[in-house]
């Protein structure tokens, strides 16, 4: 953890709002990007970024870690995955309760209504082993190898190897994900992904 973060965190523990605000402004962008990478929805990402910083305010970490950003990203990702799992459970529940058959049509004029590239990305990430998807999100949101290692609880020297594997797994899963095109914001539906993992 940087000296600045450490001192500010200490003040946050003692209820200093200015210190909290400083940390918020310093790290909000990274936390938001990680969450957006996972969820692909601005509103979700903003909601969960808020919740993450609320957690920092109300329950600042007691143990000094090597990176506050790593702690924030871990909290954010846990919340993000919980949100995705909750959504998936809800989808399954409705699917079971519905008397209608969910049928996918091969015709492009129908398929274009169904999903978007972003949905496929989200679903592939959700189906990858969590460590791999987390690493992809963290790294592509700009976290350093050291920060990624802290979040994942692995040695910094192993990040390169893990990253290469994760990228390969992502590519493989993504190529098998059907990608309907042309769907726009607000009309996104569940993708028809068949990630093999």
């Amino acid at each position: 953890m940087t000296d600045g973060d450490s001192q500010l965190l200490d003040r946050v523990r003692r209820g200093h709002e200015v210190a909290f605000e400083t940390l918020f402004l310093r790290h909000y962008g990274s936390v938001y990007r990680v969450l957006y990478g996972l969820l692909r929805e601005h509103e979700w990402a903003e909601d969960l970024a808020q919740e993450t910083f609320l957690e920092l305010y109300h329950n600042p970490p007691r143990i000094v870690e090597t990176s506050l950003l790593a702690w924030l990203c871990r909290v954010a990702l846990n919340r993000g995955y919980n949100r995705l799992r909750g959504k998936e459970r809800e989808r399954q529940r409705i699917e079971r309760a519905s008397t209608h058959q969910f049928t996918y049509y091969p015709d492009p004029s129908v398929e274009v209504l169904r999903a978007s590239e972003g949905v496929c990305v989200r679903e592939v990430l959700a189906r990858l082993p969590e460590r791999q998807s987390k690493l992809l999100l963290l790294r592509h949101a700009g976290l350093s190898y050291g920060e990624c290692a802290v979040v994942l609880g692995v040695a910094p020297g192993s990040i390169g190897t893990l990253l290469a594997r994760a990228e390969r797994a992502f590519q493989k899963a993504y190529t098998t994900c059907e990608q309907p095109k042309g769907l726009l914001e607000g009309e996104q539906n569940e993708g028809n992904c068949q990630a093999p993992l």
Partner: protein, 693 residues
């Protein structure tokens, strides 16, 4: 790992090399090695290609929310819905929400010698705005005497003409340094608490806030769906446990909550004090740009303190109760927040150039409106009898005299792509532009221009640092400010042009809030004159006639001239992929859109006839979730069907699918849930029409 001539670097090391995450000497070694090792070079290229592909897919959003704004929202979650249309138009084009008017203390002080003073000619030098309100009430009291509240204000009959004057001792409000929602809430401090008459969520009994006069009140606006709101309740309980003399009141809103959901939440958490429930946040005359917001009201009904956000600990609340009660109140200003709109038609009044003109307001057709969070001036009148378009219409003109909109007697609402927020309503505020510049780290004025006839400065902020992937500076934010008032007329956030995907500017619209009223003090002495003719008649009272304008609904015509539809704003997404064209916009949490694919007559597309495509679209709708209703419809005699359904995420969707004029149209809306106010959604669907014969 050191390399020998016959060995190769492992992929982890090569991957780290790509990210320059290795010590300098190792970077050099690998660079040298790959020059001579074809296998490692191929491996490196493969990793580089994979990294690039995934980077493209995982690219960060085209914009990241402004951290300052996000922080302000965290301190008090912004309730965007508050800003959406509050009072929908009824079938006659009139705004239908009825409200009580003139509630307040029975004997207000009209002339004051300090602070902000509103004075008028009837009572010496300039009568205050409160007196204007009183005048309105007097003028129309006979027209609605059966609805007059108990505390109707009285003014001398001689005050038939009043002017809101500038006044010699009026202070110029300092530009706000606070986030808008906090500033707006703070502006209510020292004013009379607007009346609330709402049902108790537990008993359904109607409760008036004024019935608690004589004891301090802690009034908190919140909802169960907002974690920041629920986080403040334990603090309230902690203080409530020790403050028997203080009345604690919580207020929730529909459609986010209903009495049952609130009750369940309260029982589960043992929040025992009084909780009221309003059908909509827009019907509550408090500044609710942010939630939770807590107002401390003293025994006389004056707001003594306001706190926006969840960071309200027990000590702070105790302090507010103990010390803020000593602040002085401004009983006259207290009435400002209680003014409700009078919807008036003045017969035989001719507006010379209403359509898009900028004619200054005439003395008799200016009225003012105060909604829950908006305060704007407007005029209501009728057009000349011989004008086919405006005869008998209700015409709305904003405070600067610019035509906004009119509703004609044929019950159709005509609106235009015009945003009243872009008008600088109020007078000069020297130094405001400089203050705005100070708030941005690398901002400078790049252009002096005009907008809607107003002098405007364009300010560009240059991004520098923060994201390690962005090495060059670029303009990340543009503001257009009114030169004289400092009002922000438009803003754009701009994504990085190369590293973060396609460049895209996000344009924000501007919200006019209640603090505008205070700015109005700096207007010229004779800017607003109220001289009502004798033939004025009251049509009805409405809460916020500008609500609809705030959302900028306008008639959007697709460039090819084939169809038109009322949209809540300029479409903020559009695209064309594989022959499918889509446009749409989001407003108030609801997505509105139209998409179509061409099926020229007799020409099958994608291997199927247009009838088969129509059926496939129907089948798709059914597959999208739990269908609530479906029925056949027509559009100019063309066949179609409407589906209403709840999708897997709980979102409420409506699709109207038509096969018309060689196109398969899907007109769609997506709302957060099936409790969403349908007025705008219905208006959207009903406005869709084909244009070509």
């Amino acid at each position: 790992m050191r390399e020998t001539a016959k060995r190769h670097y492992d992929e982890g090391r090569l991957r780290a090399y790509l990210d320059e995450a290795l010590p300098q000497h190792e970077m050099g070694e690998i660079a040298a090695h790959t020059l001579s090792c074809e296998q490692c070079q191929d491996h490196l290229n493969s990793l580089r290609k994979g990294k690039a592909e995934i980077s493209a897919l995982l690219q960060t959003p085209v914009y990241t929310p402004d951290p300052q704004l996000a922080l302000a929202r965290l301190m008090g979650q912004v309730e965007v819905d508050v800003l959406q249309p509050a009072a929908p138009l009824d079938g006659n084009g009139a705004l239908t929400e009825q409200v009580q008017i003139g509630v307040g203390p029975s004997k207000p002080t009209l002339s004051r010698s300090r602070g902000r003073v509103w004075r008028g000619t009837g009572l010496g030098m300039g009568l205050g705005l409160a007196a204007v309100l009183m005048l309105l009430l007097v003028l129309f009291s006979g027209l609605r005497s059966n609805q007059a509240p108990q505390n109707t204000l009285q003014v001398p009959a001689s005050s038939a003409t009043v002017t809101i004057g500038k006044g010699d001792n009026l202070p110029t409000p300092a530009p706000s340094q606070e986030p808008e929602e906090i500033y707006a809430a703070q502006q209510m401090v020292t004013k009379m608490a607007p009346e609330l008459v709402l049902p108790d969520v537990r008993t359904g009994r109607m409760v008036a806030l004024s019935s608690f006069r004589g004891k301090p009140v802690v009034l908190t606006f919140w909802d169960t769906k907002c974690p920041l709101c629920t986080a403040v309740l334990p603090t309230l309980r902690e203080v409530a446990d020790n403050r028997n003399a203080v009345q604690f009141i919580g207020v929730t809103f529909g459609p986010r909550d209903n009495a049952d959901s609130v009750n369940a939440f309260l029982s589960k958490n043992n929040y025992y004090w009084l909780f009221l429930h309003a059908t909509s946040s827009s019907t509550v005359p408090y500044s609710l740009l942010a939630m939770p917001v807590t107002y401390i009201i003293d025994a006389s009904g004056t707001i003594r303190a306001a706190h926006v956000g969840t960071f309200l600990n027990a000590a702070k609340l105790q302090g507010m109760l103990d010390t803020d009660m000593q602040k002085e109140s401004d009983p006259v200003a207290g009435y400002v927040a209680q003014v409700m709109v009078r919807h008036i038609v003045i017969s035989d009044t001719v507006v010379s150039e209403p359509l898009g003109g900028t004619a200054p307001p005439t003395a008799h057709d200016i009225w003012f409106a105060n909604g829950t969070d908006h305060l704007l001036m407007y005029a209501v009148t009728s057009g000349p009898p011989n004008d086919e378009e405006t005869s008998g219409a209700t015409i709305w003109i904003d405070a600067s005299g610019v035509y906004v909109y009119h509703s004609a007697p044929d019950n159709k609402v005509y609106s235009y792509p015009y945003n009243p927020r872009y008008i600088a309503l109020f007078g000069p505020n020297p130094g405001a532009v400089d203050e705005a510049l100070k708030k941005l780290p690398n901002a400078r004025i790049t252009e002096h221009t005009t907008m809607n006839g107003r002098p405007v400065v364009k300010i560009e902020n240059v991004y520098s640092g923060g994201d390690p992937r962005i090495n060059q500076s670029y303009v990340d934010r543009i503001l257009w400010l009114d030169s004289e008032t400092g009002r922000q007329l438009k803003s754009q956030y701009i994504s990085h042009p190369t590293s973060l995907g396609s460049s895209q500017a996000i344009t924000n619209t501007i919200v006019v809030t209640q603090d505008e009223l205070l700015d109005a003090q700096s207007l010229p002495d004779d800017f607003f004159k109220f001289n009502l003719p004798g033939d004025a008649r009251l049509v009805n009272d409405t809460l916020d006639p500008m609500g609809d304008f705030h959302s900028d609904w306008y008639d959007f015509q697709w460039p090819d001239g084939n169809f038109a539809v009322l949209m809540p704003r300029t479409p903020d997404f559009s695209g064309n992929a594989d022959g499918l064209t889509t446009i749409g916009a989001k407003s108030g949490g609801v997505t509105y859109g139209v998409k179509y694919r061409s099926y020229p007559d007799g020409v099958p597309a994608e291997g199927r006839s247009k009838e088969e495509a129509l059926q496939a679209a129907y089948d798709l709708a059914i597959s999208e979730g739990k269908v609530l209703s479906q029925h056949d419809i027509t559009l100019d005699a063309y066949p179609g069907r409407e589906y209403r359904l709840l999708d897997s995420s709980g979102a409420f969707r409506i699709w109207r699918i038509y096969l018309a004029k060689g196109r398969l149209y899907t007109v769609f809306a997506k709302a957060p849930n099936d409790q969403t106010d349908m007025a705008n959604i219905e208006r959207f669907f009903n406005s869709f029409r084909l244009l070509t014969p």
